[in-house]
């Protein structure tokens, strides 16, 4: 059974876990919007400038935003992984 299974399956503990996970992931996704928007806008500015220096500066800034995106995605992956581990431990 997946951590994101239907809470209506009668497992109250799993349902709680899924609700908590969904709430946490929703917050993280909201946080992810910031670096993703920054990344897209910065690359678009680079395109607007259309000079070698402008594009280079855009790539440097964009890579910095990628670090933020990666950190947030990794945190979400960890949460999903932990949630699955707890669920499996409960089933045993």
């Amino acid at each position: 059974m997946s951590a994101l299974s239907d809470p209506a399956d009668g497992h109250a503990g799993t349902a709680l876990l899924v609700d908590e996970l969904a709430a946490e992931i929703a917050i993280d996704l909201h946080g992810l919007c910031q670096p993703l928007t920054a990344l897209q806008c910065r690359l678009e500015i680079g395109r607007m400038e259309a000079t070698l220096e402008g594009l280079d500066a855009a790539i440097v800034d964009a890579l910095r935003e990628c670090v933020r995106v990666n950190a947030l995605v990794r945190a979400m992956q960890d949460k999903v992984f932990d949630s699955k581990r707890h669920e499996m431990a409960g089933e045993r």
Binding site: P35, T37, A38, Q40, C41, E44, I45
Partner: protein, 257 residues
């Protein structure tokens, strides 16, 4: 146009500021709700781009406090929240548009442009600054009640300065917005036309008045001033202080409603 960006994420705010400035706007960036409220009430920008998640009063509280108090300022809300209820609440509190994050800078700029076009449609056709009046519908200009005959470009230049409402406009901005020429075009056409305008507005005044409405701000550009001084102002005094805006407000010369 004069845009206030309210965004607490330093990187994103900086990129929005850079992009909107590159698009030809005069942009101010603040990072919290309280700063946003005091800036809007003091400077009355044309547009506020407002993030919802902010420290020291969030975007919703900013909208609640400003609701009905800033008819001349359009508001575009940026949000990462998908709930329809939030967006509906923002619109009911006076926001003109909402944009969901993540978004493209091009979409943001297009929406800002559309908001300004809509606002202009309902604006007073008469722009005023002191004794200078420009009727956009009738394409007529008067100074102290006397008609001033202007060419198309002179009219467009005066209209742009009037819409700037006492803000300093750089030569490159005027070149781009009025002549649709690159700032690197290497021409003095702006200075030439400012001189034409000064002469024509001066000629329309009563003998002996000699007021100069278009002021040179050394190192910065041109602005519509009090109409009393012929001395060029220092750029620093205008950029640091409130003289440029204050002069227009003292005259009660709200350019665009």
């Amino acid at each position: 146009m004069h845009v206030l960006i309210v965004e607490d994420d330093v990187a994103l705010g900086g990129f929005l500021e850079k992009g909107m400035t590159r698009d030809g706007n005069q942009v101010t960036l603040v990072h919290d709700g309280e700063e946003a409220i005091s800036y809007v009430l003091e400077h009355r920008p044309d547009l506020m781009v407002l993030d919802l998640s902010l420290p020291r009063k969030d975007g919703m509280q900013v909208l609640e406090e400003l609701c009905g108090r800033i008819p001349g300022t359009s508001v575009l809300v940026l949000t990462g929240r998908r709930d329809v209820e939030d967006r509906v609440r923002c619109l009911n509190l006076g926001a003109d548009d909402c944009l969901l994050k993540p978004f493209s800078l091009f979409e943001l700029m297009a929406r800002c442009g559309a908001l300004m076009r809509r606002r202009d449609q309902f604006a007073d056709p008469v722009l005023r600054h002191g004794a200078v009046e420009l009727n956009r519908m009738l394409r007529k200009v008067t100074c102290q009640g006397h008609a001033v005959e202007l060419t198309g470009k002179e009219f467009a230049l005066l209209e742009y300065l009037l819409k700037a409402n006492g803000r300093v406009c750089s030569r490159s901005e005027l070149l781009r917005e009025v002549w649709q020429m690159s700032p690197d075009a290497g021409t003095n056409v702006v200075d030439v036309y400012v001189n034409y305008l000064r002469k024509k507005l001066g000629a329309a005044q009563s003998p002996g008045e000699g007021m100069q409405w278009i002021e040179t701000v050394r190192g910065a550009g041109y602005m519509l001033g009090l109409g009393t001084t012929r001395r060029p102002m220092r750029a620093a005094s205008v950029l640091e202080g409130t003289y440029a805006i204050g002069s227009a407000q003292q005259l009660g010369s709200v350019g665009v409603v």
